[in-house]
């Protein structure tokens, strides 16, 4: 691990005067599973297409193994791609789809046969050689697309929302499958998705993007636990984000009270965003709580309840296994490790208020995110 394979330097992309990428800098290491995560139009697919060689950046450089490859066409890059809707060749059967790259490279027939069979085994499609691709299920087509790319033994595999068209069950299976294949083949995966759960469960490194800029790079745990701004905090999981003031190291004031926290290194009295994850909050009897509020809605979610509590007009989302009745007064305690402090950013004040929360809210946004570009 950790040998640098691809480096993007000051990538800028403009399309008809519109800024798609705004100074992207990142490094991808050998054997790494790296995910570009972000909402529609954040520039993640554009970044992927620049790595693949299908787009030329307006400015900035792409390095591969230390060499600048801006002008190397896609067919000369040691990179293969799994496309968003598979892009299998409809006039070829499964075998010929997988063998396509090897035939273009003019490998001996016997070798092609051996490698295609090997790939069919890896993706679990043995016996499907002569099937037409349009007679396969979505998941099977997905495997053919992966096999078609991997059979060329690329150093890097690019995957552009490969699971977006699959149903939830199949998506979960394929996530495991992909992770398994990546480890078995020992190559680098660059994965694009808007699904934060997918990103967190599969990746070694997650890059959160928005508005053509990288918001945060880190391991999944770090991204979740230490979001760098309100956008990341909100996009990854659920967050209550409050205005606060950092009085001194380890001391933050919000809601008129001073709390202990684990964060340091802020300027004295610096205004900050305070993040409190819904599942970190514990209910206590009102008289014991740091804060008291009124329950305004309760939704049963299976594993837990989503409970909205009104604290002095500011509504929080709290996820707990304890049922509370609507209208009841509750108290909460906040431990220092439950409080995460972030610098103010352009996203401050845009997220983290559940005043307009409804149970369907999540599903609606997810649907809208499904289509990118």
């Amino acid at each position: 691990m950790s040998k640098e394979l691809i480096r993007l330097q000051d990538l800028v992309m403009e399309f008809d005067g519109e800024q798609i990428l705004d100074g992207i800098n990142l490094t991808i290491n050998d054997h790494e599973f790296l995910t570009l995560l972000g909402p529609s139009g954040c520039g993640k697919t554009t970044t992927l297409r620049i790595i693949g060689g299908f787009l030329n950046p307006t400015s900035g450089d792409v390095f591969f193994d230390g060499k600048r490859i801006n002008d190397v066409p896609p067919y000369d890059r040691q990179i293969n791609t799994v496309f968003q809707r598979y892009a299998l060749f409809p006039h070829l059967d499964v075998y010929d789809n997988i063998a396509f790259g090897l035939k273009v490279a003019k490998l001996p027939k016997a070798q092609i046969h051996e490698r295609v069979q090997e790939m069919l085994a890896v993706v679990g499609l043995k016996g499907y050689e002569n099937r037409r691709t349009d007679s396969l299920s979505g998941g099977q087509q997905q495997r053919v697309a992966i096999a078609r790319a991997l059979v060329n033994r690329p150093k890097v595999l690019l995957l552009d929302e490969p699971l977006a068209a699959l149903d939830l069950r199949l998506r979960k299976d394929m996530q495991n499958e992909l992770k398994r294949i990546q480890q078995a083949m020992g190559i680098t995966f660059v994965y694009v998705t808007h699904d934060q759960e997918e990103a967190l469960s599969m990746s070694d490194t997650v890059i959160v993007m928005d508005k053509g800029r990288i918001q945060q790079i880190g391991k999944p745990e770090d991204i979740y636990n230490e979001p760098q701004n309100a956008f990341v905090a909100d996009f990854i999981g659920e967050s209550n984000i409050l205005d606060g003031v950092m009085l001194a190291d380890y001391k933050v004031k919000f809601f008129g009270r001073t709390f202990k926290c684990l964060d340091a290194g802020f300027a004295p009295n610096e205004p900050v965003d305070v993040v409190i994850r819904p599942e970190d909050i514990d209910f206590v009897p009102p008289e014991e709580g740091h804060l008291t509020g009124t329950v305004t809605s309760v939704t049963f979610k299976g594993l837990n309840y989503d409970i909205i509590v009104d604290f002095k007009g500011f509504k929080w989302l709290i996820q707990t296994t304890d049922h509370q009745a609507v209208g009841s007064t509750v108290g909460i305690r906040l431990n220092p490790e439950d409080i995460h402090i972030m610098h103010k950013s352009e996203y401050s004040g845009m997220f983290g208020d559940y005043s307009s929360y409804s149970a369907e809210y999540d599903e609606l946004t997810e649907d809208a995110d499904d289509e990118e570009e």
């Binding site: 693949g52 299908f54 066409p73 809707r85 060749f89 409809p90 037409r132 007679s135 060329n152």
Partner: protein, 635 residues
């Protein structure tokens, strides 16, 4: 509601397909006539397949269609791919530009192309002959291109753009990606485009007409130039076969499209796809073979002959071996094996003139009528003849020499001659009414009278009636003639040219002015018809003569041909087919006695002295006459 809809649909189908049905029925008819079905026969098909010339023309048409559709499919696909790569706004603009030629009137396209070819070939490259097989091919490719683009474009748009990326991702250069992936995706569109282009090419007349040179003629152009006489029934047989061919192609095209749609939804077995691949390969091989064969044939044709003599004559104006006549051209080639005759045809003096004057065509012998000879001579477009090479000129009657259009007998040798008189049906027309041109104005026969549908002949009749010269340039006299013709219009059945055969033979009309030779032919088919020449009032007497244009390349061979045509035996045999008068008296001994003894074709010399031939009119006058005639027709 549903029933009325259905009835309406059926009516529309009847309306659309009845003309074809009539043609198909006619092709199986034993009778010569299309008005009555006498019995079923395949005779016309037998005749068709025995007619080598017709089959060669059909071959020409198929060859040009195959080449043109193949080439335009190639270039059209390239263009479509290029247009598809443009930004959407630009793409729309370019698409509407490529669509314009389809809605452009063919005649405009034809004339523009002809001008362009003559300009480039004649003026820039200095070619003597600027309209050739190649210009015809270029013209066909040009008008086919938009149809190919129109068919390929939607396939490109339907294609998943990621396919091309995927191919490049897997190691293809953009060109490889096109051939390995895109081509397969747009293939149905290309096939549909090619079939459409093929059918457009096969039946194109208007554009071909303007860009056809002397070396290559397609079937529709040939058929048009032969409409002087009624269309032969074997042509019906050929049209029937052509119609079936196009029907099969169209059905194939639709099947391909339907298949394409189904493939997206249906699963297909592998065996099937293997067959499809094999079929595709065979198809591609066949197409390549036809292309190679066609080009090879052309090169071979171009190299094989020794001397090629280009004879440019009226359609159906030479005996061709049909109906037990002599094949004059074959006879000539037999007698002079070093010379190969390339025989092409025109439909009117004016067509001959425009082809010659634009330099679009190079020919060695032409056969224009009197007034056109004068015009060509005045414009320096005729070569003086070397009469030492034409000893048979001595056999031509003196009465056809020293004509006003060639007073010194330097430029022309008479080919045929004839008169214009009145054909009438004795069953319906009282003999005492047949006194002169007035018969055409007789109200008793309202709606049974036909009239020439060309200004010169129509005005000629009025001029004889009013006692003017038929070559007058006096506009007041012409106006008076127009008034006379206007007076006649209400009692006319219609203005006609070739349809006169059907209308008179079937007694739909009773009275018509027409050329004596044609009248004679009609009289053979209907015994009640008679011919009358208004000797006292005067009549038109015309001579078609053989001339050599200045663009001639084989003058010796041309003079040999002219001499050959004056041979009494040949001239006589020729007249058996065209039914006009031979200027060589001795020829009468070698022709059908019915013809030789007919006073319709060969009136007395004293009678002939009353005939007048047309002289060339100044352009201003002929245009004025044309305008007046249009007014008469539209009044």
């Amino acid at each position: 509601m549903k029933r009325t809809n259905r009835i309406f649909t059926i009516l529309i189908f009847i309306f659309l397909y009845i003309p074809m049905a009539v043609l198909i029925v006619a092709s199986f008819n034993t009778g010569k006539d299309i008005t009555s079905f006498d019995g079923f026969t395949l005779q016309q098909y037998v005749r068709l397949f025995r007619d080598e010339k017709l089959l060669r023309l059909l071959g020409n048409s198929v060859l040009i269609s195959v080449l043109a559709s193949g080439i335009s499919t190639m270039f059209g696909t390239m263009a479509a791919v290029g247009i598809h790569g443009l930004k959407p706004k630009m793409r729309k603009a370019v698409m509407s530009l490529t669509n314009i030629p389809m809605t452009n009137p063919d005649i405009v396209t034809g004339i523009s192309l002809s001008l362009l070819f003559v300009f480039i070939g004649g003026k820039l490259l200095g070619q003597k002959e600027s309209l050739t097989f190649w210009t015809l091919l270029i013209a066909h490719v040009t008008f086919n291109l938009p149809y190919v683009i129109l068919n390929v474009m939607p396939k490109l748009q339907q294609m998943n753009p990621a396919l091309q990326d995927a191919a490049m991702d897997l190691g293809c250069t953009p060109v490889q990606a096109f051939f390995k992936v895109t081509l397969h995706e747009i293939m149905p569109g290309m096939i549909a485009g090619a079939i459409m282009a093929f059918t457009m090419s096969l039946d194109d007349f208007v554009i071909s007409y303007f860009v056809t040179g002397s070396d290559f003629m397609t079937l529709p152009v040939k058929i048009y130039s032969e409409t002087k006489k009624p269309i032969q029934p074997k042509i019906y047989a050929m049209f029937t076969l052509l119609f079936l061919l196009i029907l099969v192609l169209m059905i194939t095209m639709n099947l391909i499209q339907i298949r394409g749609e189904q493939n997206k939804h249906k699963r297909r077995a592998t065996a099937d796809s293997k067959y499809a691949r094999l079929a595709k390969r065979i198809g591609a091989f066949a197409l390549a073979a036809v292309l190679v064969l066609g080009v090879g044939l052309l090169i071979f044709q171009g190299r094989s002959s020794t001397v090629t003599l280009n004879v440019y004559n009226w359609g159906q104006n030479i005996a061709d071996g049909s109906d037990e006549t002599m094949d004059i051209i074959a006879e000539f080639e037999k007698r002079y094996p070093d010379i190969k005759v390339n025989y092409i045809t025109y439909a009117s003096n004016e067509e001959l003139y425009s082809k010659l004057s634009t330099g679009g065509i190079t020919v060695d012998v032409i056969i224009p009528s009197d007034y056109m000879i004068a015009r060509l001579k005045n414009e320096g477009m005729l070569e003086e003849l070397n009469f030492e090479n034409i000893p048979n000129y001595a056999l031509v009657d003196d009465s056809f020499k020293n004509q006003h259009f060639d007073p010194e007998n330097k430029y022309s040798v008479p080919y045929t001659w004839g008169t214009v008189g009145i054909l009438y049906n004795t069953k319906y027309v009282a003999e005492e009414d047949v006194t002169g041109w007035d018969l055409l104005w007789n109200k008793k026969y309202t709606d049974k009278i036909l009239m020439f549908d060309n200004s010169r002949d129509a005005f000629g009749i009025a001029q004889f009636l009013l006692g003017y010269s038929i070559n007058t340039t006096d506009k007041t006299q012409l106006q008076a003639c127009a008034d006379k013709l206007k007076e006649q219009k209400p009692i006319l059945q219609q203005y006609v040219m070739d349809q006169v055969y059907d209308l008179m033979e079937n007694e739909v009309a009773w009275i018509a002015p027409y050329y004596a030779g044609d009248c004679m032919a009609m009289m053979q088919n209907n015994e009640d018809l008679a011919f009358y020449l208004p000797v006292d009032q005067g009549f038109n007497f015309f001579i078609d003569s053989m001339c050599i244009p200045t663009c001639c390349q084989e003058k010796d061979a041309a003079e040999l041909f002219i001499n050959f045509m004056c041979d009494p035996e040949i001239s006589g045999a020729n007249m058996d087919y065209i039914w006009y008068g031979s200027p060589v008296s001795e020829a009468k001994q070698h022709m059908d006695p019915v013809l030789a003894e007919s006073d319709v074709v060969y009136p007395d010399q004293t009678v002939l002295d009353n005939g007048t031939s047309f002289a060339f009119l100044p352009e201003e006058i002929s245009r004025y006459m044309e305008t007046l005639f249009m007014q008469v027709r539209n009044s």
